[in-house]
Amino acid sequence: MRETTRGTPATILTYLVVGVAALLFLAPFYVMLRAALMTGTQVTDPDWRWLPDPFTLQGFTDLFDDPSVPMAGALGNSFVIAIVTAPVSTLLGSMAGYALARISVPGRGVVMSFIVVTLMIPASATFVPTFVLVSAMGGVDTLWGVIVPGLFNAFSVLLFRNFYLKFPQEIEEAGRLDGLGHLGVYWRLALPNSGALLASLGALAFIESWNAFLWPLVIGQDPESWTAQIALSTFLTSQSINLPALFAGAVVTVLPLVAVFLFAQRYIVQGIAATGMKD
Protein backbone atom coordinates (compact mmCIF):
# COMPACT_ATOMS: atom_id res chain seq x y z
CA MET A 1 0.00 0.00 0.00
CA ARG A 2 2.77 2.39 0.88
CA GLU A 3 5.08 2.14 -2.11
CA THR A 4 3.67 4.84 -4.33
CA THR A 5 5.65 4.62 -7.50
CA ARG A 6 5.40 7.90 -9.29
CA GLY A 7 3.58 8.13 -12.57
CA THR A 8 1.91 4.72 -12.64
CA PRO A 9 -1.73 4.73 -13.78
CA ALA A 10 -2.82 3.69 -10.28
CA THR A 11 -1.09 6.69 -8.71
CA ILE A 12 -2.56 9.09 -11.23
CA LEU A 13 -6.01 7.64 -10.59
CA THR A 14 -5.53 8.02 -6.82
CA TYR A 15 -4.61 11.68 -7.19
CA LEU A 16 -7.53 12.23 -9.53
CA VAL A 17 -10.06 10.72 -7.11
CA VAL A 18 -8.58 12.48 -4.07
CA GLY A 19 -8.42 15.78 -5.97
CA VAL A 20 -12.05 15.60 -7.11
CA ALA A 21 -13.16 14.62 -3.60
CA ALA A 22 -11.25 17.55 -2.11
CA LEU A 23 -12.92 19.92 -4.57
CA LEU A 24 -16.33 18.57 -3.56
CA PHE A 25 -15.51 19.02 0.12
CA LEU A 26 -14.39 22.61 -0.40
CA ALA A 27 -17.20 23.56 -2.80
CA PRO A 28 -19.75 24.51 -0.09
CA PHE A 29 -17.29 27.10 1.28
CA TYR A 30 -17.09 28.62 -2.17
CA VAL A 31 -20.87 28.58 -2.56
CA MET A 32 -21.23 30.35 0.79
CA LEU A 33 -18.71 33.10 -0.03
CA ARG A 34 -20.06 33.56 -3.53
CA ALA A 35 -23.61 34.21 -2.32
CA ALA A 36 -22.41 36.46 0.53
CA LEU A 37 -20.60 38.73 -1.92
CA MET A 38 -23.41 38.94 -4.49
CA THR A 39 -26.49 41.11 -4.76
CA GLY A 40 -29.88 39.54 -4.04
CA THR A 41 -30.90 39.36 -7.67
CA GLN A 42 -27.62 37.74 -8.71
CA VAL A 43 -28.04 34.96 -6.14
CA THR A 44 -31.40 33.89 -7.52
CA ASP A 45 -30.46 34.33 -11.17
CA PRO A 46 -31.05 30.96 -12.89
CA ASP A 47 -28.06 31.65 -15.17
CA TRP A 48 -25.13 30.37 -13.15
CA ARG A 49 -22.19 32.70 -12.78
CA TRP A 50 -19.01 31.67 -11.05
CA LEU A 51 -18.04 34.99 -9.50
CA PRO A 52 -20.05 37.89 -8.11
CA ASP A 53 -20.20 40.70 -10.63
CA PRO A 54 -19.89 43.24 -9.14
CA PHE A 55 -18.47 42.21 -5.76
CA THR A 56 -20.47 43.78 -2.98
CA LEU A 57 -20.26 43.83 0.79
CA GLN A 58 -23.90 44.88 1.00
CA GLY A 59 -24.82 41.51 2.52
CA PHE A 60 -22.52 42.10 5.47
CA THR A 61 -23.78 45.65 6.07
CA ASP A 62 -27.38 44.45 5.83
CA LEU A 63 -26.64 41.65 8.27
CA PHE A 64 -25.33 43.90 11.00
CA ASP A 65 -27.99 46.57 10.32
CA ASP A 66 -30.88 44.13 10.70
CA PRO A 67 -32.48 44.78 14.10
CA SER A 68 -34.37 41.45 14.07
CA VAL A 69 -31.11 39.46 14.07
CA PRO A 70 -28.74 40.58 16.86
CA MET A 71 -25.76 39.06 15.08
CA ALA A 72 -23.04 41.22 16.65
CA GLY A 73 -24.23 40.52 20.18
CA ALA A 74 -24.69 36.83 19.37
CA LEU A 75 -21.13 36.54 18.07
CA GLY A 76 -19.97 38.21 21.28
CA ASN A 77 -21.93 35.70 23.37
CA SER A 78 -20.51 32.77 21.41
CA PHE A 79 -17.03 34.13 21.90
CA VAL A 80 -17.42 34.53 25.66
CA ILE A 81 -18.93 31.04 25.97
CA ALA A 82 -16.20 29.34 23.95
CA ILE A 83 -13.34 31.29 25.53
CA VAL A 84 -14.54 30.29 29.02
CA THR A 85 -15.58 26.72 28.24
CA ALA A 86 -12.40 25.62 26.45
CA PRO A 87 -9.82 26.35 29.19
CA VAL A 88 -12.06 25.65 32.18
CA SER A 89 -13.39 22.29 30.98
CA THR A 90 -9.89 21.23 29.98
CA LEU A 91 -8.43 22.29 33.33
CA LEU A 92 -11.14 20.47 35.30
CA GLY A 93 -10.43 17.32 33.27
CA SER A 94 -6.73 17.61 33.89
CA MET A 95 -7.16 18.15 37.65
CA ALA A 96 -9.36 15.11 38.13
CA GLY A 97 -7.26 13.06 35.72
CA TYR A 98 -4.09 13.83 37.66
CA ALA A 99 -5.62 12.95 41.01
CA LEU A 100 -6.97 9.66 39.68
CA ALA A 101 -3.63 8.71 38.14
CA ARG A 102 -1.18 9.90 40.74
CA ILE A 103 -2.68 10.31 44.18
CA SER A 104 -3.33 7.02 45.88
CA VAL A 105 -6.12 7.34 48.44
CA PRO A 106 -8.77 4.96 49.68
CA GLY A 107 -11.91 5.20 47.56
CA ARG A 108 -10.10 6.29 44.44
CA GLY A 109 -11.66 3.47 42.44
CA VAL A 110 -15.13 4.53 43.50
CA VAL A 111 -14.53 8.11 42.33
CA MET A 112 -13.15 6.76 39.06
CA SER A 113 -16.26 4.64 38.46
CA PHE A 114 -18.53 7.53 39.44
CA ILE A 115 -16.94 9.62 36.69
CA VAL A 116 -16.59 6.94 34.01
CA VAL A 117 -20.16 5.64 34.31
CA THR A 118 -21.44 9.01 33.02
CA LEU A 119 -19.79 8.26 29.67
CA MET A 120 -22.52 5.73 28.99
CA ILE A 121 -25.29 8.32 29.27
CA PRO A 122 -26.08 9.80 25.87
CA ALA A 123 -26.51 13.57 25.83
CA SER A 124 -30.03 13.09 24.50
CA ALA A 125 -31.10 11.61 27.82
CA THR A 126 -29.99 14.65 29.76
CA PHE A 127 -31.13 17.76 27.94
CA VAL A 128 -34.69 17.69 29.28
CA PRO A 129 -33.72 17.11 32.92
CA THR A 130 -30.74 19.47 32.69
CA PHE A 131 -33.07 22.17 31.46
CA VAL A 132 -35.35 21.49 34.39
CA LEU A 133 -32.42 21.73 36.79
CA VAL A 134 -30.80 24.83 35.29
CA SER A 135 -34.09 26.67 35.03
CA ALA A 136 -34.79 25.87 38.70
CA MET A 137 -31.41 27.48 39.44
CA GLY A 138 -32.39 30.59 37.46
CA GLY A 139 -30.09 29.89 34.52
CA VAL A 140 -32.53 30.48 31.67
CA ASP A 141 -31.40 33.32 29.38
CA THR A 142 -28.03 33.61 31.11
CA LEU A 143 -24.57 32.90 29.75
CA TRP A 144 -23.64 30.80 32.76
CA GLY A 145 -26.71 28.67 32.08
CA VAL A 146 -25.24 27.88 28.67
CA ILE A 147 -21.68 27.41 29.95
CA VAL A 148 -21.80 25.54 33.26
CA PRO A 149 -23.49 22.23 32.30
CA GLY A 150 -20.91 21.81 29.51
CA LEU A 151 -17.85 22.10 31.74
CA PHE A 152 -17.82 18.54 33.07
CA ASN A 153 -16.45 16.08 30.58
CA ALA A 154 -15.73 12.59 31.89
CA PHE A 155 -14.01 11.75 28.67
CA SER A 156 -11.30 14.35 29.11
CA VAL A 157 -10.78 13.05 32.66
CA LEU A 158 -10.09 9.63 31.19
CA LEU A 159 -7.67 10.97 28.58
CA PHE A 160 -5.78 13.04 31.14
CA ARG A 161 -5.64 10.08 33.53
CA ASN A 162 -4.09 7.91 30.83
CA PHE A 163 -1.64 10.69 30.05
CA TYR A 164 -0.57 11.21 33.68
CA LEU A 165 -0.19 7.47 34.24
CA LYS A 166 2.76 7.68 31.87
CA PHE A 167 4.13 10.89 33.41
CA PRO A 168 7.79 10.25 34.46
CA GLN A 169 8.01 9.40 38.14
CA GLU A 170 11.48 11.03 38.38
CA ILE A 171 10.07 14.49 37.74
CA GLU A 172 7.53 13.97 40.47
CA GLU A 173 10.15 12.75 42.93
CA ALA A 174 12.40 15.70 42.14
CA GLY A 175 9.49 17.97 42.96
CA ARG A 176 8.96 16.15 46.26
CA LEU A 177 12.61 16.67 47.17
CA ASP A 178 12.12 20.38 46.56
CA GLY A 179 9.36 20.30 49.14
CA LEU A 180 6.33 20.35 46.84
CA GLY A 181 3.13 18.64 47.97
CA HIS A 182 0.65 16.86 45.68
CA LEU A 183 -0.93 20.13 44.59
CA GLY A 184 2.44 21.75 44.04
CA VAL A 185 3.66 18.88 41.89
CA TYR A 186 0.47 19.05 39.83
CA TRP A 187 0.46 22.82 39.41
CA ARG A 188 4.20 23.43 38.95
CA LEU A 189 5.28 20.26 37.14
CA ALA A 190 2.49 18.09 35.74
CA LEU A 191 0.22 20.80 34.34
CA PRO A 192 2.96 22.80 32.59
CA ASN A 193 4.14 19.56 30.99
CA SER A 194 0.73 18.67 29.54
CA GLY A 195 0.78 21.41 26.90
CA ALA A 196 0.03 19.27 23.85
CA LEU A 197 -2.95 17.48 25.40
CA LEU A 198 -4.28 20.71 26.90
CA ALA A 199 -4.04 22.36 23.48
CA SER A 200 -5.67 19.43 21.67
CA LEU A 201 -8.62 19.06 24.01
CA GLY A 202 -8.92 22.82 24.44
CA ALA A 203 -9.12 23.39 20.69
CA LEU A 204 -11.75 20.66 20.32
CA ALA A 205 -13.75 22.07 23.25
CA PHE A 206 -13.60 25.53 21.65
CA ILE A 207 -14.95 24.21 18.34
CA GLU A 208 -17.62 22.11 20.01
CA SER A 209 -18.78 24.95 22.20
CA TRP A 210 -18.84 27.45 19.33
CA ASN A 211 -20.89 25.06 17.18
CA ALA A 212 -23.25 23.81 19.88
CA PHE A 213 -26.90 24.17 18.95
CA LEU A 214 -29.38 22.14 20.99
CA TRP A 215 -28.39 23.30 24.48
CA PRO A 216 -28.08 27.05 23.69
CA LEU A 217 -31.42 26.76 21.85
CA VAL A 218 -33.04 25.23 24.91
CA ILE A 219 -31.63 27.65 27.45
CA GLY A 220 -31.45 30.93 25.50
CA GLN A 221 -34.99 32.05 24.84
CA ASP A 222 -34.37 35.78 24.93
CA PRO A 223 -32.54 37.21 21.86
CA GLU A 224 -30.05 38.91 24.20
CA SER A 225 -28.69 35.53 25.22
CA TRP A 226 -28.57 33.96 21.73
CA THR A 227 -25.35 32.48 20.43
CA ALA A 228 -24.27 32.96 16.83
CA GLN A 229 -25.74 29.56 15.89
CA ILE A 230 -29.13 30.40 17.36
CA ALA A 231 -29.22 33.84 15.74
CA LEU A 232 -28.31 32.31 12.39
CA SER A 233 -30.88 29.53 12.75
CA THR A 234 -33.58 32.07 13.60
CA PHE A 235 -32.54 34.20 10.63
CA LEU A 236 -32.66 31.10 8.40
CA THR A 237 -36.14 30.06 9.45
CA SER A 238 -37.81 33.43 9.99
CA GLN A 239 -37.10 35.24 6.74
CA SER A 240 -35.27 34.30 3.63
CA ILE A 241 -35.64 37.35 1.45
CA ASN A 242 -32.21 38.89 1.97
CA LEU A 243 -30.08 35.96 0.82
CA PRO A 244 -26.71 37.77 0.68
CA ALA A 245 -27.17 38.88 4.32
CA LEU A 246 -28.08 35.33 5.31
CA PHE A 247 -24.95 33.91 3.67
CA ALA A 248 -22.90 36.74 5.16
CA GLY A 249 -24.20 35.50 8.52
CA ALA A 250 -22.94 32.03 7.70
CA VAL A 251 -19.55 33.43 6.72
CA VAL A 252 -19.06 35.41 9.94
CA THR A 253 -20.17 32.39 11.97
CA VAL A 254 -17.72 30.06 10.26
CA LEU A 255 -14.76 32.40 9.88
CA PRO A 256 -13.49 32.40 13.50
CA LEU A 257 -13.47 28.61 13.53
CA VAL A 258 -11.71 28.28 10.21
CA ALA A 259 -9.05 30.58 11.66
CA VAL A 260 -8.77 28.50 14.85
CA PHE A 261 -8.70 25.37 12.73
CA LEU A 262 -5.90 26.46 10.42
CA PHE A 263 -3.93 27.84 13.35
CA ALA A 264 -4.26 24.78 15.61
CA GLN A 265 -4.70 22.03 13.05
CA ARG A 266 -1.88 19.87 14.39
CA TYR A 267 -3.45 19.84 17.85
CA ILE A 268 -6.93 19.28 16.48
CA VAL A 269 -5.80 16.24 14.50
CA GLN A 270 -4.06 14.85 17.60
CA GLY A 271 -7.13 15.59 19.68
CA ILE A 272 -9.45 13.77 17.27
CA ALA A 273 -7.12 10.79 17.16
CA ALA A 274 -6.98 10.73 20.97
CA THR A 275 -10.70 11.13 21.58
CA GLY A 276 -11.70 8.65 18.91
CA MET A 277 -9.57 5.90 20.36
CA LYS A 278 -10.98 5.57 23.82
CA ASP A 279 -9.07 2.48 24.86
Binding site: G19, G181, L214, F247
Partner: protein, 322 residues
Protein backbone atom coordinates in the same frame (compact mmCIF):
# COMPACT_ATOMS: atom_id res chain seq x y z
CA UNK B 1 -23.63 -2.98 43.55
CA UNK B 2 -22.58 -2.29 39.98
CA UNK B 3 -20.32 0.44 41.28
CA UNK B 4 -18.28 -1.85 43.49
CA UNK B 5 -17.75 -4.29 40.65
CA UNK B 6 -16.47 -1.60 38.31
CA UNK B 7 -14.40 -0.14 41.10
CA UNK B 8 -12.70 -3.49 41.61
CA UNK B 9 -12.08 -3.78 37.90
CA UNK B 10 -10.58 -0.31 37.80
CA UNK B 11 -8.25 -1.23 40.63
CA UNK B 12 -7.32 -4.47 38.95
CA UNK B 13 -6.40 -2.83 35.66
CA UNK B 14 -4.27 -0.13 37.26
CA UNK B 15 -0.59 -0.62 36.32
CA UNK B 16 1.34 -1.68 39.37
CA UNK B 17 4.25 0.68 38.83
CA UNK B 18 2.39 3.92 39.30
CA UNK B 19 1.32 3.41 42.87
CA UNK B 20 3.46 5.61 45.11
CA UNK B 21 5.19 3.83 47.98
CA UNK B 22 2.80 2.25 50.42
CA UNK B 23 2.46 4.04 53.69
CA UNK B 24 1.12 1.14 55.66
CA UNK B 25 -2.43 1.36 56.93
CA UNK B 26 -2.20 4.96 58.09
CA UNK B 27 -4.34 7.34 56.04
CA UNK B 28 -2.32 10.10 54.39
CA UNK B 29 -4.57 13.05 55.09
CA UNK B 30 -2.54 15.43 52.94
CA UNK B 31 -3.06 13.12 49.98
CA UNK B 32 -6.75 12.84 50.73
CA UNK B 33 -7.01 16.64 50.87
CA UNK B 34 -5.23 17.12 47.56
CA UNK B 35 -7.26 14.35 45.92
CA UNK B 36 -10.51 15.87 47.14
CA UNK B 37 -9.60 19.37 45.98
CA UNK B 38 -8.62 18.18 42.52
CA UNK B 39 -11.59 15.88 41.90
CA UNK B 40 -14.32 17.80 43.73
CA UNK B 41 -15.34 20.16 40.90
CA UNK B 42 -15.73 17.29 38.46
CA UNK B 43 -17.54 15.03 40.94
CA UNK B 44 -19.94 17.79 42.01
CA UNK B 45 -20.57 18.88 38.41
CA UNK B 46 -21.26 15.38 37.14
CA UNK B 47 -23.28 14.62 40.24
CA UNK B 48 -25.49 17.60 39.57
CA UNK B 49 -25.78 17.66 35.79
CA UNK B 50 -25.73 13.91 35.14
CA UNK B 51 -26.82 11.95 38.22
CA UNK B 52 -29.30 14.39 39.74
CA UNK B 53 -30.66 15.36 36.34
CA UNK B 54 -31.11 11.75 35.26
CA UNK B 55 -32.61 10.74 38.58
CA UNK B 56 -35.11 13.57 38.55
CA UNK B 57 -36.01 12.87 34.96
CA UNK B 58 -36.49 9.18 35.74
CA UNK B 59 -39.01 10.09 38.44
CA UNK B 60 -40.67 12.62 36.12
CA UNK B 61 -41.15 9.90 33.50
CA UNK B 62 -43.54 8.20 35.96
CA UNK B 63 -45.37 11.41 36.84
CA UNK B 64 -47.92 13.58 35.21
CA UNK B 65 -45.89 16.74 34.79
CA UNK B 66 -47.45 19.22 32.40
CA UNK B 67 -46.17 22.76 32.74
CA UNK B 68 -44.51 21.79 36.01
CA UNK B 69 -41.46 19.82 37.04
CA UNK B 70 -42.79 18.98 40.49
CA UNK B 71 -43.07 15.33 41.34
CA UNK B 72 -46.05 13.83 43.08
CA UNK B 73 -48.84 12.88 40.72
CA UNK B 74 -47.61 9.39 39.91
CA UNK B 75 -49.08 7.73 36.86
CA UNK B 76 -46.97 4.57 36.63
CA UNK B 77 -46.09 3.62 33.07
CA UNK B 78 -48.77 5.84 31.50
CA UNK B 79 -46.25 8.17 29.85
CA UNK B 80 -44.44 5.23 28.29
CA UNK B 81 -47.69 3.63 27.15
CA UNK B 82 -48.85 6.94 25.69
CA UNK B 83 -45.67 7.23 23.63
CA UNK B 84 -45.81 3.65 22.38
CA UNK B 85 -49.28 4.32 21.05
CA UNK B 86 -48.46 7.78 19.73
CA UNK B 87 -48.22 7.72 15.95
CA UNK B 88 -45.85 10.72 15.89
CA UNK B 89 -43.39 9.11 18.32
CA UNK B 90 -43.48 5.78 16.53
CA UNK B 91 -42.81 7.34 13.13
CA UNK B 92 -40.02 9.38 14.70
CA UNK B 93 -38.41 6.16 15.95
CA UNK B 94 -38.76 4.36 12.62
CA UNK B 95 -37.47 7.50 10.89
CA UNK B 96 -34.29 7.55 12.95
CA UNK B 97 -33.70 3.82 12.46
CA UNK B 98 -34.03 4.29 8.70
CA UNK B 99 -31.66 7.26 8.80
CA UNK B 100 -29.15 5.28 10.85
CA UNK B 101 -29.31 2.29 8.49
CA UNK B 102 -28.36 4.60 5.63
CA UNK B 103 -25.89 6.93 7.27
CA UNK B 104 -23.76 4.40 9.16
CA UNK B 105 -22.45 2.26 6.27
CA UNK B 106 -22.11 5.25 3.93
CA UNK B 107 -20.13 7.33 6.44
CA UNK B 108 -18.03 4.31 7.36
CA UNK B 109 -17.29 3.37 3.74
CA UNK B 110 -16.51 6.90 2.60
CA UNK B 111 -14.18 7.70 5.49
CA UNK B 112 -12.35 4.37 5.13
CA UNK B 113 -12.08 4.84 1.37
CA UNK B 114 -10.75 8.37 1.65
CA UNK B 115 -8.29 7.33 4.37
CA UNK B 116 -6.93 4.46 2.25
CA UNK B 117 -6.59 6.74 -0.77
CA UNK B 118 -4.96 9.50 1.25
CA UNK B 119 -2.61 7.00 2.86
CA UNK B 120 -1.35 6.15 -0.62
CA UNK B 121 -0.74 9.81 -1.42
CA UNK B 122 2.74 11.11 -0.64
CA UNK B 123 2.86 14.60 -2.08
CA UNK B 124 0.31 17.04 -0.81
CA UNK B 125 -1.15 14.71 1.81
CA UNK B 126 -1.31 17.51 4.39
CA UNK B 127 -3.13 19.75 1.93
CA UNK B 128 -5.75 17.13 1.12
CA UNK B 129 -6.16 16.22 4.77
CA UNK B 130 -6.90 19.85 5.60
CA UNK B 131 -9.42 19.99 2.77
CA UNK B 132 -11.32 16.95 4.02
CA UNK B 133 -11.18 17.95 7.67
CA UNK B 134 -12.10 21.63 7.26
CA UNK B 135 -15.88 20.94 7.11
CA UNK B 136 -15.59 19.37 10.57
CA UNK B 137 -15.13 22.91 11.89
CA UNK B 138 -18.48 23.99 10.42
CA UNK B 139 -21.65 23.86 12.49
CA UNK B 140 -24.77 21.97 11.44
CA UNK B 141 -26.62 25.29 11.36
CA UNK B 142 -24.28 26.77 8.77
CA UNK B 143 -24.28 23.55 6.74
CA UNK B 144 -28.09 23.42 6.87
CA UNK B 145 -28.18 27.02 5.67
CA UNK B 146 -25.95 26.28 2.67
CA UNK B 147 -27.76 23.04 1.83
CA UNK B 148 -31.22 24.53 2.18
CA UNK B 149 -30.73 27.95 0.64
CA UNK B 150 -28.19 27.18 -2.05
CA UNK B 151 -27.30 23.58 -2.93
CA UNK B 152 -30.81 22.10 -2.68
CA UNK B 153 -33.00 25.20 -2.60
CA UNK B 154 -35.48 23.85 -5.13
CA UNK B 155 -35.11 26.88 -7.40
CA UNK B 156 -33.62 26.73 -10.90
CA UNK B 157 -30.70 28.76 -9.46
CA UNK B 158 -29.88 26.06 -6.88
CA UNK B 159 -26.60 24.22 -7.37
CA UNK B 160 -28.17 20.74 -7.54
CA UNK B 161 -30.78 21.88 -10.05
CA UNK B 162 -28.17 23.75 -12.10
CA UNK B 163 -26.05 20.60 -12.34
CA UNK B 164 -29.16 18.51 -13.02
CA UNK B 165 -30.06 20.94 -15.78
CA UNK B 166 -26.79 20.09 -17.55
CA UNK B 167 -28.08 16.52 -17.81
CA UNK B 168 -31.54 17.66 -18.84
CA UNK B 169 -33.21 16.75 -15.53
CA UNK B 170 -36.28 18.53 -14.29
CA UNK B 171 -36.04 21.08 -11.51
CA UNK B 172 -36.57 19.24 -8.22
CA UNK B 173 -37.94 20.73 -5.02
CA UNK B 174 -35.63 18.45 -2.93
CA UNK B 175 -36.64 19.38 0.62
CA UNK B 176 -40.33 20.09 0.14
CA UNK B 177 -41.03 17.12 -2.13
CA UNK B 178 -41.94 13.85 -0.45
CA UNK B 179 -42.50 11.62 -3.47
CA UNK B 180 -39.85 10.41 -4.07
CA UNK B 181 -38.34 11.34 -0.66
CA UNK B 182 -35.41 13.32 -2.06
CA UNK B 183 -35.03 15.11 1.27
CA UNK B 184 -33.03 12.10 2.46
CA UNK B 185 -30.33 13.03 -0.07
CA UNK B 186 -30.22 16.52 1.44
CA UNK B 187 -30.01 15.25 5.02
CA UNK B 188 -27.48 12.50 4.33
CA UNK B 189 -25.07 14.50 2.16
CA UNK B 190 -25.11 17.25 4.78
CA UNK B 191 -24.02 14.92 7.58
CA UNK B 192 -21.47 13.23 5.34
CA UNK B 193 -19.88 16.58 4.57
CA UNK B 194 -19.50 17.41 8.25
CA UNK B 195 -18.43 14.01 9.55
CA UNK B 196 -16.44 12.07 6.97
CA UNK B 197 -13.26 14.08 7.58
CA UNK B 198 -13.31 13.31 11.32
CA UNK B 199 -13.59 9.55 10.87
CA UNK B 200 -11.09 9.66 8.02
CA UNK B 201 -8.54 11.08 10.49
CA UNK B 202 -9.22 8.17 12.84
CA UNK B 203 -8.81 5.62 10.04
CA UNK B 204 -5.61 7.34 8.90
CA UNK B 205 -4.20 7.01 12.42
CA UNK B 206 -5.15 3.32 12.34
CA UNK B 207 -3.54 2.80 8.94
CA UNK B 208 -0.35 4.49 10.03
CA UNK B 209 -0.12 2.11 12.99
CA UNK B 210 0.02 -0.98 10.75
CA UNK B 211 3.64 -2.21 10.52
CA UNK B 212 5.00 -1.79 6.99
CA UNK B 213 6.84 -5.12 7.13
CA UNK B 214 3.52 -6.97 6.99
CA UNK B 215 2.93 -5.57 3.51
CA UNK B 216 6.52 -6.21 2.49
CA UNK B 217 6.27 -9.84 3.53
CA UNK B 218 2.95 -10.21 1.70
CA UNK B 219 4.41 -8.67 -1.45
CA UNK B 220 7.29 -11.14 -1.35
CA UNK B 221 4.76 -13.93 -1.13
CA UNK B 222 3.12 -12.52 -4.23
CA UNK B 223 -0.09 -11.31 -2.58
CA UNK B 224 -2.05 -8.89 -4.73
CA UNK B 225 -3.02 -5.43 -3.48
CA UNK B 226 -6.58 -6.55 -3.06
CA UNK B 227 -5.48 -9.59 -1.06
CA UNK B 228 -3.26 -7.36 1.09
CA UNK B 229 -6.17 -5.06 1.78
CA UNK B 230 -8.44 -7.96 2.73
CA UNK B 231 -5.99 -9.96 4.78
CA UNK B 232 -3.80 -7.26 6.35
CA UNK B 233 -5.43 -3.83 6.27
CA UNK B 234 -8.98 -4.77 7.26
CA UNK B 235 -8.07 -7.14 10.12
CA UNK B 236 -5.51 -4.69 11.49
CA UNK B 237 -8.14 -1.94 11.47
CA UNK B 238 -10.59 -4.04 13.47
CA UNK B 239 -10.42 -2.08 16.74
CA UNK B 240 -10.45 1.26 14.94
CA UNK B 241 -13.46 0.15 12.92
CA UNK B 242 -15.43 -0.99 15.95
CA UNK B 243 -14.80 2.33 17.72
CA UNK B 244 -15.74 4.34 14.64
CA UNK B 245 -18.92 2.34 14.00
CA UNK B 246 -19.98 2.99 17.56
CA UNK B 247 -19.29 6.74 17.28
CA UNK B 248 -21.22 7.08 13.99
CA UNK B 249 -24.11 5.05 15.36
CA UNK B 250 -24.52 6.95 18.61
CA UNK B 251 -24.21 10.29 16.81
CA UNK B 252 -26.84 9.25 14.25
CA UNK B 253 -29.43 8.31 16.88
CA UNK B 254 -29.01 11.71 18.48
CA UNK B 255 -29.40 13.72 15.28
CA UNK B 256 -31.13 17.03 15.92
CA UNK B 257 -29.44 20.09 14.42
CA UNK B 258 -29.75 19.36 10.71
CA UNK B 259 -33.32 18.01 10.89
CA UNK B 260 -34.40 21.00 12.94
CA UNK B 261 -32.81 23.58 10.65
CA UNK B 262 -33.46 21.98 7.27
CA UNK B 263 -37.16 21.30 7.86
CA UNK B 264 -38.04 24.36 9.98
CA UNK B 265 -40.25 26.86 8.19
CA UNK B 266 -41.75 30.17 9.24
CA UNK B 267 -44.71 28.19 10.58
CA UNK B 268 -42.63 25.80 12.70
CA UNK B 269 -41.66 22.23 11.93
CA UNK B 270 -45.10 20.65 11.84
CA UNK B 271 -44.72 19.99 8.13
CA UNK B 272 -41.36 18.22 8.53
CA UNK B 273 -41.44 14.86 6.72
CA UNK B 274 -39.16 13.37 9.39
CA UNK B 275 -39.02 14.36 13.04
CA UNK B 276 -36.21 12.42 14.72
CA UNK B 277 -36.63 11.56 18.44
CA UNK B 278 -34.65 14.53 19.72
CA UNK B 279 -36.76 16.97 17.73
CA UNK B 280 -39.87 15.17 18.97
CA UNK B 281 -38.62 15.41 22.57
CA UNK B 282 -37.73 19.06 22.13
CA UNK B 283 -41.22 19.79 20.84
CA UNK B 284 -42.89 17.74 23.57
CA UNK B 285 -40.87 18.81 26.59
CA UNK B 286 -39.81 22.35 25.80
CA UNK B 287 -42.46 23.62 23.42
CA UNK B 288 -45.35 21.57 24.84
CA UNK B 289 -44.12 21.77 28.46
CA UNK B 290 -44.93 18.08 28.97
CA UNK B 291 -41.91 17.06 31.02
CA UNK B 292 -43.33 13.67 32.02
CA UNK B 293 -43.79 12.39 28.48
CA UNK B 294 -40.58 14.14 27.40
CA UNK B 295 -38.59 12.34 30.08
CA UNK B 296 -40.15 8.99 29.22
CA UNK B 297 -39.20 9.54 25.58
CA UNK B 298 -35.62 10.36 26.54
CA UNK B 299 -35.35 7.09 28.43
CA UNK B 300 -36.81 5.08 25.57
CA UNK B 301 -34.30 6.62 23.18
CA UNK B 302 -31.48 5.90 25.62
CA UNK B 303 -32.66 2.31 25.90
CA UNK B 304 -32.67 1.99 22.11
CA UNK B 305 -29.12 3.39 21.88
CA UNK B 306 -27.84 1.05 24.59
CA UNK B 307 -29.53 -1.98 22.99
CA UNK B 308 -28.19 -1.24 19.53
CA UNK B 309 -24.70 -0.60 20.92
CA UNK B 310 -24.76 -3.91 22.79
CA UNK B 311 -26.10 -5.72 19.74
CA UNK B 312 -23.37 -4.26 17.60
CA UNK B 313 -20.74 -5.24 20.15
CA UNK B 314 -22.11 -8.79 20.09
CA UNK B 315 -22.14 -9.05 16.33
CA UNK B 316 -18.60 -7.79 16.11
CA UNK B 317 -17.62 -10.10 18.96
CA UNK B 318 -18.97 -13.12 17.06
CA UNK B 319 -17.06 -12.10 13.97
CA UNK B 320 -13.83 -12.19 15.90
CA UNK B 321 -13.91 -15.95 16.28
CA UNK B 322 -13.41 -16.87 12.65
Amino acid sequence: MADTVTARQATATRPAGVRPGRRGRRTDWKAVGAFTLLTAPMVVGLGLFKYTAIGWSFLLSFSEARGTVDLGSWVGFDNYAFLLEDEAFRSSMTGIVLFTIFIVPVTFGMSLGLAVLLHGVRRGRAFFRTGFLLPAAVSYVVAALVWKMSLFNGLPSGVANTIGGLFGWDVQSWIAGTDPPLYWIVIITLRLWLQVGLYMILFLAGLQAIPVHLYEAASLDGASRRAQFRHITLPMLRNTSVAILMLILIAAFQAFDEFYNVFMTTTGNATAPVRPPLVFLYDTALKGQDYGVGSAGAFMLTLLIVLVTLLQGRLVGFGRKD
